[in-house]
Symmetry: C2
Subunit: 306 residues, 2 copies
């Protein structure tokens, strides 16, 4: 099935306790579409960059079968740039620079060839832009997933709540679920947030796994215990792309299949953090994936009855 | 199989965002032996209290089939008392009072009737006392599990490391694993700690579940997402008691059976936090237990192939 990924395509400069990078390709739509490309050969990208964005990086996306017809290249403008430094716990970070550049007035254009798309991933981006994308789709997609972050809760809560009300699946982290709902208990938070619109909620807990909620159903996917996390940048976007990519591939949005999608999303995210930026997720083999999924299954597997 | 539980039997005064208690029965051996009593009808307690300790509370332990032959009652002395106040996240707390009283010079006595015991749980207690208990056992037990906490890392690291070197299974939380090993990565921390002696390590992560390590094997047991955690006091002790109680019941110390023991320990702990103190874990029915175990299994269960 076809899958539209919307979000940022950007430059990141990343520093972690293990090293630092120059400007490298990043952004929610970059990670999301690359992750999804392992499942769907019909991934369509909507994003914006400046004319400073290397054609080699665009070619990289295209080499993964991602359509860049919806990638606007703004002449005379610069790409979105983020620089950050992670602390030793890898969960907290300082933002060293945020240059919106082309994102400041991003008006998303949906190419005609994208209309009729089946699955949509609204990657982390201004909720107004996420909403505009949905309004510009002529046919209601089978499933819309939205990822967002606390920045929009701090700066654009009304627009955020409106957009959340339009989607089927929301993906946020535990701190964001608490902030959005005003509830400390994640079970209570999930109930409140599902009343805001999304039938399904994913609460990402980083190295502590992810919870999937739908009505009274709940599923927990562990994260793989890793020797080292080199760079958590894009892990959440990669998770989201892997999750919806798997749904688009299987075209099955039952709760049981969403459980499997959460495992695949978690597996993709576990690759993402093993190297800086997109370095690891641009070259995952089928064997890598099968091996990783097996490790996720083994991690919670019991032999025999309990 | 017979099981010896050593630790504190004490008074606690607890305050959480949901309420507060007067002095109630608490202590690592109380929670641990009560939890273990659901699996073994041959639980033997070694601890010390003052003459202020109510006979009704001792009778409560005995009503669970726990032998109190090894419970010293010091005339003219007072029982160990701890008072604490939990913060809204229920993971952090302030200690309001710690009165060692009878614990200050606790010299553990092993009754003759306890000799030859098969399984031993060294509940949280001074590592010197934990070590003394092991030295006073005439026959090497089949398995010794030790639970401890950061307090002993801060105040008695040498003795702690010595005692850790004598046990088969160590149970600590994630922050303690990091403190003990000096490694942030829990996988690296586990490797270092297993080199200190214990063949098996359990890293408890509270609401984020627990990891079981043995050599290169790893298993993850989730915690049950709960609407409310009323009082986390004793959850770790209850986990430890449930874990070793299940091992003693099944008399099977393979890694696969330890996985099941971690699920049972987690299930017991999930009951413990639902009410203040020991209120919930003194009356768990067989149906309660079966239902709870089913919820733990369902939480990570996939239908069909992935």
């Amino acid at each position: 099935m076809s899958l539209l990924t919307v979000g940022t395509v950007a430059f990141d400069a990343i520093e972690t306790p293990f090293g630092k990078t120059d400007k490298i390709i990043g952004g929610s739509a970059t990670y999301g579409s690359l992750a999804a490309s392992y499942f769907s050969n019909d991934v369509k990208l909507v994003a914006v960059v400046g004319d400073d964005f290397p054609s080699a990086d665009i070619a990289l996306l295209e080499s993964h079968g991602i359509s860049t017809d919806g990638l606007q290249i703004k002449q005379g403008e610069k790409s979105f740039f983020w620089a950050g430094k992670y602390h030793i716990d890898m969960n907290s970070r300082d933002t060293l620079a945020t240059e919106l550049n082309v994102l400041a007035d991003f008006d998303p254009v949906i190419p005609d060839s994208y209309q009729g798309v089946d699955y949509v991933m609204l990657g982390n981006l201004s909720p107004q832009v996420q909403k505009t994308v949905l309004e510009r789709l002529e046919k209601k997609p089978k499933l819309v997933m939205m990822d967002t972050m606390n920045f929009w809760m701090d700066t654009a809560m009304d627009a955020l709540v409106e957009t959340i009300g339009m989607v089927d699946v929301l993906s946020i982290n535990d701190a964001e679920a608490r902030q959005l709902s005003g509830e400390y208990s994640l079970v209570k938070a999930a109930k409140k947030i599902m009343k805001m619109g999304p039938e399904t909620l994913i609460i990402k807990k980083g190295e502590n796994g992810a919870l999937l909620f739908k009505q009274d159903l709940v599923f927990f996917a562990p994260a793989l215990p890793l020797e080292e996390v080199y760079d958590p940048t894009g892990a959440g976007d990669t998770f989201a792309g892997g999750f919806i990519g798997y749904l688009a591939k299987t075209d099955d949005i039952t709760f049981n299949n969403m459980k499997k999608a959460v495992i695949y999303g978690s597996a993709l995210a576990s690759f993402a953090v093993e190297k800086f930026g997109t370095e690891r997720i641009i070259k995952i083999t089928e064997d890598d994936m099968a091996d990783r999924i097996e490790r996720f299954i083994d991690l919670v597997q019991l032999e025999g009855r309990i």
